[in-house]
Symmetry: D2
Subunit: 367 residues, 4 copies
């Protein structure tokens, strides 16, 4: 408890603030003997790094991963792994100015009621999306372990600013299609439309949200600890730790509410000698335990709260109404940069469950 | 961990099986000095008790709460409270017959892959909706404590089988309207239509799902432990422990994905000297911490997996395809009976957070 | 947290009060597929059952184990196992009379300061040694699983009332010798002297304490999670949950403080092709991790606090000094009955660690 | 779980290795609004810093605390506090040479069986006493909070190498006496004898252990969460995380085993209108809950395992017996440097319990 730890046998601890010294993460419980490919960590970090295209915040951070502990001779040791990135392109002046003005749909008021005036408000402090860089570093390591079991996690934008792509794609093609798009969508026409929309939002000083879909392939059946540590519960808990998430649904999700049992139920079949379902409206999880079918879920992101449009709000020192124009640097749409974060948190949670299910050894193969 | 415990300072432990001796719950960490109104526990249990109307399963259980520990002279003592109900109207014969046939969208296969052949499959065993009776008993006690702080939790059916009610209601009227309806919806016309639909489903040997909305009034601002134990994370984790839940969304939820920042952002205002927002698309939680506005979320239930229609599936002993007609007793729609369960889990989670925030003392007022 | 749960993957939850309905325990995380020998549970319970010899309290309880959940067709299912015994020979009148008099070295004052006047004080309530019956039931199941790995735990009284036996015994003989003695010591002369001493204490209305030694044979090397969940930490935490324990020491223990490094250090040797130490002053644990040598520790019990001799104390209602003669039924020495409790808690903790180390599967062999 | 986290509401996470980049600690759950006196942290670190007198290891480390997160404008923010010291005077050559030789009573074999060949063995890696620098940093902050409640923790050496001081001292004088001694004992004659003994050990290439006593003054009554999170359990768990600890006893401790109930029981008295006991053989904890009397316990340290005397052991690569002379830098007696570590871990555990008992607010007084 107390908020900054997640997991049981593969546990991550998040620390750092947007405009503090560092953003960091500790992994406690990483199996020993994983050859650490620091480039892979960096590659994941780069996927969510700001300032890479004109679409995102102009804050320019190198976000270079630095390993403080837990790795020896390029292998994990079983000891806690501490990973940090430094905050370099910090400009807190804009935040100083509006420190008493509540930014609409930001955590300013929540934070004051929880921590008093002591919290670091600069750049959003602990509430900044920047803390998810720590999630991504931990996830990069989790993904390397999952890949030893051929488990692959892929997320992509399914919908941004109302531009929707609900086509079905072959799992093997998703990664290729997504990586072609600057906004992480699969259809190239949509990609273009969305890019234009985001530029338009930037110009209009507004923002948009969207939906990210996440799919896991090759995840084994029989994983999950009902009742309370079932897979849906633990995935959703981790995903809601990502700033701006407002909803999650598994498989058919909210559409299931409008289906009949005879439509929604997934018939069991035998395919290539294996037990499968002929469709996957359950999203790969029944009774909180994996079925061996792909795990699939959608995550909804609200539009970026920081907009440069004038907004009505209040000054809490003066206790009077005022107008606010947020000047800081921000993304008109954070969905594309959230994609690797969703993958990371999913990897962290599911690796923890695989360790509890004894599907991953505590000491990986000797070199 | 290991699945059957939830919470930090107000912790519940679930036990019991659908056709075992009992369904039970332990509450560890209940403040001492709460006058226990056993009638209130029973009243909540009765709300989810089967066999009350022709709409639900014919299984007839008295579900009478029995207190095994933790209460002395009608007050909680601070020691673990153990509450049970006995399983009486048990008929396991139907389950014996189909024990090797995978029921579509049931946890049969998940369970086998997780627990081998040892799990109690009768009546769904640990995967039965009946285990939520334990949630309701714990929630009844949590609600009594929350009511000392004037916090009220109300859930109702917003949509069943595609019949939707998205009108806004005054909080004070919701309970009255809901309690008038046999299916827990607020609009009486809808209520009638839904009742007819459920009877039709029964006749068609089919089932429907729906959406439950939950609202909390008077919940204080500043509660929640970001990053990982934020309110959205902890509520969603608890809610996904309820069988048949496939999605959750807070505030505007999935609709937020199609809104612009300027539309979605909730402007801060001063009203009667208090800091509020003029609307509540955030659903009362920003940055994972309560804002003092009503906490609002929607929960999606899939249609009951047990249907008496013939379904395609497989026999796992013979490893061959077969047809299945499920004969057991079940609800064509579990949404109405799930309403008190949603309230209960919400109460349990939020009381835990209020205790962590030191808003509830460990020893309540002396008698 | 909140006190009544212990463990990570094999978790026990304690409930019940001395004069309440029941004493109980829930085991969450027990592997599926263990054939439950209820007789073995009963046999362990009988070892700590009161009223068996003239040496212990005259309270006469059958202490018959009743299984409420988690067992199906005589095998564990993987679901939470709830075990209870009923309290039958309850006489609370003596406690009513002295309810405002603080019994010296009892938890009366601690309890009042923690729980106010709400706690169940009858027979010591939650602070009674009787709650350890729950520990013993959980331990009986843990021991059955450990025995599948040929791990054996044996505790015995090494010292009672100053009568000391510090001879070394062959592990294989300890159980036989101990079971011959009514007070759980190995030397028959000492046994007789101690029995006489305890009868003398009874007559003198006084009590004595003692030291229990616990040894584990065949416990594998490499188990333990430093830094904080090392074996010494987790064993000591569990052992201090047993009422009246005031000290624990591993291996040479406090004697190590007076040894030189050259004396205390255990030389590594190769014996029968295996890596061992030539002596075991470390008590089988170095760096918090098992070495493969027998795990050995001593536990110190204070003399029973309840004595029928007149004692000086205070009446907290009147806030004045008074004399107290405790009339209830109690043991002049609880050490013999504590022996199975030590074994039980040790079994529970070490099974949890073996599960974390993936040395015990989650589903045991198919029948 | 997984070993490197401790606590519930005030949680510490330990990381770093003896010869790695850093030794660090994260504090999760520190109340907001504590004015951080970095000098106080440094002062505590200096107490356990190596190389300060000729009595300790010649390893010379500045051990300068560096704050990476959680502090803003000199106040704690409520966010995780990450504190590190850098490892500078690292000489791993000696360890490389003996990497296949098991050092007697060191964790070499335990480590290999737990982590395979992957663990960082240099300077003991995670098993080095150096990791306790992290404990001390966390403890320094915990102590600052406890001091706001006038709770003072003082530990001192009661016995080193068989030179014993069992006199009773007035609490107020202990700190002054202890700080006069280079080895942390209270009696100046003993201090001189112990210093001579340690120099003699150095010359003899041998080592000695000892006993540290810890006392808490002004700790309130009513703190502790029986059964499993009682104060004795949680203190002992934390203390056994300190390398070289082999025993702990509260109050009269092991001596209680040889006392009669009439001797051991602490009579309750009224003194200055307050409820106290006339003596304190319980060590301030009964039933696992504080009584308001000073909390007192003794901790036993084995002699330093690293000695430069020739020792018999084995080479695990060659699987043959050999002789070993350990050349690294080490303390002939670690007891003096362990004193601040005992205080630190005690502070961490008890602050956690005070937070659970709602005796410390989550946001301290506004500046």
């Amino acid at each position: 408890m107390v908020g900054n730890s997640l997991g049981t046998l593969f546990k991550i601890i998040s620390f750092g603030e947007s405009h503090g010294e560092v953003i960091g993460v500790i992994i406690d419980g990483c199996p020993a003997g994983l050859k650490i490919d620091a480039d892979l960590i960096q590659k994941e970090l780069n996927r969510r790094r700001p300032g890479q295209t004109a679409l995102s915040t102009p804050r320019s951070e190198e976000d270079k991963v630095k390993i403080l502990s837990g790795i020896f001779n390029n292998f994990t040791t079983g000891a806690p792994i501490c990973l940090i990135i430094e905050n370099k392109d910090v400009d807190s002046s804009k935040y100083e100015k509006i420190k008493n003005i509540l930014r609409p749909s930001h955590a300013d008021f929540s934070r004051l009621m929880r921590y008093g005036e002591f919290a670091d408000y600069r750049g959003g402090g602990r509430f900044s999306g920047r803390i998810t860089a720590g999630f991504v570093m931990a996830g990069a390591i989790a993904k390397q372990i999952l890949s030893l079991k051929n488990i692959e996690i892929i997320a992509y934008a399914r919908e941004i600013g109302g531009i929707i792509d609900d086509k079905e794609y072959d799992f093997k093609k998703i990664k290729i299609l997504r990586d072609k798009s600057d906004v992480g969508v699969l259809d190239s026409d949509n990609s273009q439309k969305i890019i234009e929309l985001i530029f338009q939002m930037k110009e209009e000083k507004n923002s948009v949200g969207g939906i990210v879909k996440c799919i896991l392939d090759n995840f084994p059946a029989g994983i999950g600890n009902p009742i309370f540590n079932n897979l849906q519960s633990d995935i959703s808990k981790a995903i809601f730790s990502i700033p701006a998430v407002k909803g999650i649904e598994f498989g058919a999700g909210f559409k299931a509410a409008r289906m009949k049992g005879s439509e929604h139920n997934d018939p069991w079949i035998i395919k290539d000698g294996k037990i499968k379902t002929s469709k996957n409206d359950a999203g790969g999880i029944i009774g909180g335990i994996s079925t061996g079918m792909p795990i699939e879920f959608n995550v909804c992101f609200k539009p970026t709260a920081s907009i440069s449009k004038s907004q009505k709000t209040i000054d809490i020192k003066l206790m009077e109404e005022t107008e606010l124009i947020i000047e800081g640097r921000h993304d008109p749409c954070i969905v594309p940069r959230a994609i690797p974060v969703i993958e990371a948190m999913t990897a962290v949670v599911l690796l923890d469950h695989l360790l509890m299910a004894q599907k991953i050894p505590l000491v990986l193969e000797e070199k």
